[in-house]
Point group: C2
Chain length 333, copies 2
């Protein structure tokens, strides 16, 4: 038990070497760059710091300022590339702003537990990509929700209604009229609003989805695989389906492959998110691109700039767009 940790060079060391008092060093190095300190002194301090290889102790600074220069990111499932993209976007701006990113996988501990742990680290802000309906979070550091509008908490949104509408229009344009849907039974905005827009766009075109072509599934490959397998086992089955996210769509693709069905000839499939994997499957997945990295980046920027309090100012939803690839085609019958 060594009470004296192998600390590096401190402001004291720099002060001694520069022949000034210790707070002066602090002022020069980190305090407001506008601080009035003689240019000569300033230069001397700079040099001393450089020569000694001074690196500020972020923990000490954090204790003093009551913050940690770090952001937390809580995601429902690290295995979904969408979450990775959100994280990646957040990481990018965090790195730019000299902030750290604390990664929290909600599969390991509950969101509440994670929030508590982050709070005791004086976290500057937390980005939450909700897994279930995130009505009231238990405490409030600076919080930003991804793709989940809330009265209490600021959020960063993509235009998921357009996502649903684009998918519907695309399928209609290809001549499909026997259309199915696979998605989770979820209250989350991202799913709910997309689904609603999809359904109502079809309805405006005079088409309603048969109830047995409307399937619920977990938002995962496995879920999509099962739901789609059941769907295509029906006679008749739809000529096209829209899946609430790419994982489900990829599962559907697998289900078709397993039955020897050809996509898009026997079934057109549209996904949502445009995760990396969408371009890796064969045929490549037609999908609605959701700017996940940008969502993460924006959230991080809001938190770091302390703008998360301007709740009214939740900015415009980010646009989504249809990416036509290989899993959709003109209806063949």
């Amino acid at each position: 038990v060594t009470p004296r940790p192998a600390a590096g060079v401190t402001v004291h060391d720099v002060a001694r070497r520069a022949g000034v008092s210790q707070p002066t060093v602090s002022l020069v190095l980190s305090g407001h760059p506008t601080a009035r300190v003689a240019p000569a002194t300033r230069e001397r301090v700079r040099r001393a710091a450089e020569e000694l290889g001074y690196r500020p102790n972020v923990v000490a600074r954090g204790l003093q300022q009551g913050r940690s220069f770090a952001l937390g990111v809580i995601v429902p499932d690290l295995r979904n590339p969408f979450s990775i993209d959100v994280i990646s976007g957040a990481e990018r701006v965090a790195a730019e702003e000299d902030h750290a990113v604390l990664l929290c996988d909600a599969r390991e501990r509950s969101v509440t537990a994670h929030l508590g742990a982050l709070e005791s680290r004086l976290i500057d802000g937390v980005i939450v990509e909700p897994a279930a309906y995130a009505a009231s979070l238990p405490f409030s550091p600076n919080l930003v929700l991804i793709n989940e509008p809330s009265a209490d908490v600021p959020s960063v949104l993509a235009d998921m209604e357009s996502a649903g509408r684009l998918a519907a229009k695309h399928l209609l344009q290809l001549g499909h009229r026997a259309i199915g849907f696979v998605g989770p039974a979820s209250d989350l905005y991202r799913f709910r609003s997309m689904e609603r827009a999809f359904v109502s766009t079809l309805k405006e075109a005079g088409i309603s989805i048969r109830s047995e072509w409307f399937r619920r599934s977990a938002p995962s490959v496995h879920g999509g695989e099962q739901a789609a397998a059941a769907l295509v086992a029906l006679a008749p089955h739809p000529t096209a389906i829209f899946c609430a996210n790419d994982l489900i769509a990829i599962g559907a693709l697998k289900a078709c492959a397993a039955r020897g069905m050809s996509v898009p000839r026997d079934l057109s499939i549209v996904g949502c998110d445009d995760i990396e994997t969408a371009r890796l499957v064969n045929p490549e997945l037609t999908t609605i691109a959701v700017p996940a990295r940008e969502l993460g980046a924006r959230a991080a920027r809001m938190l770091i700039r302390g703008l998360s309090h301007q709740r009214a100012k939740t900015p415009q939803p980010l646009p989504v767009k249809l990416i036509e690839r290989g899993t959709t085609a003109r209806v063949s019958r």
Copy 2:
């Protein structure tokens, strides 16, 4: 600029309420649980803390102890699911041990820059999944390398030689003799030793890889796609190839699809890592499973338990295993 951050309840508050001195509280709550303090007092403190909802300030504790109860993880590319698995494994044990995980993407800042930033956060340890030959890291907090043995730094390894050998044996067993290889020109153990074992296992069977069937590529989908496209454009081309990781293999699969070639009929493909995506492509990828999560978990455990100093004791390499799926078949000519 409010110097008084909205700090929560502190040890002082608890002390006041329990009617004891502040250090006593510290002793009871976090100090060695063996500390001799009267059971009555102990109970009183516990109660007070509970009633006040006391949560220790990890930053303050960190400053005092010269550590941060956090681990850094530096990965070369967040887009590789292998890295995600390493992170995920580390996150699991970190969460169990009340440690945080600071995520560092080497695409955003250099490894050196990340290490510096982590050091000034008094990081307890850093897990590094190296991108390039990581000869001498610039400084030394507790460090563990993933899949890269080093004289100076402890590491956690998978048995990549077996990986190469298993791939070779599998292809030989299927009757292939015209065999190719696609992998990066890298000095990293994970690639180098696997490649060597692959080549020498073939040689033992009397087979040497034609030089034009031995392709270099970036360890990415795009790299694999290009290299494989060039490879299958040759006449004759091999009947089977081994790809140094799954991303490359998936790229190869795409190249085949683009040319209208059928896998595994026209070309057998073996990948390496067994990333999540390997099961999503069609046909599913035959690959060598590398226990990425377990690598991450072990590394985290070493760091947290402070065992990283027992360098001699770098444990046995973790076993790998062949996962036979749909991209390999008996040779057809």
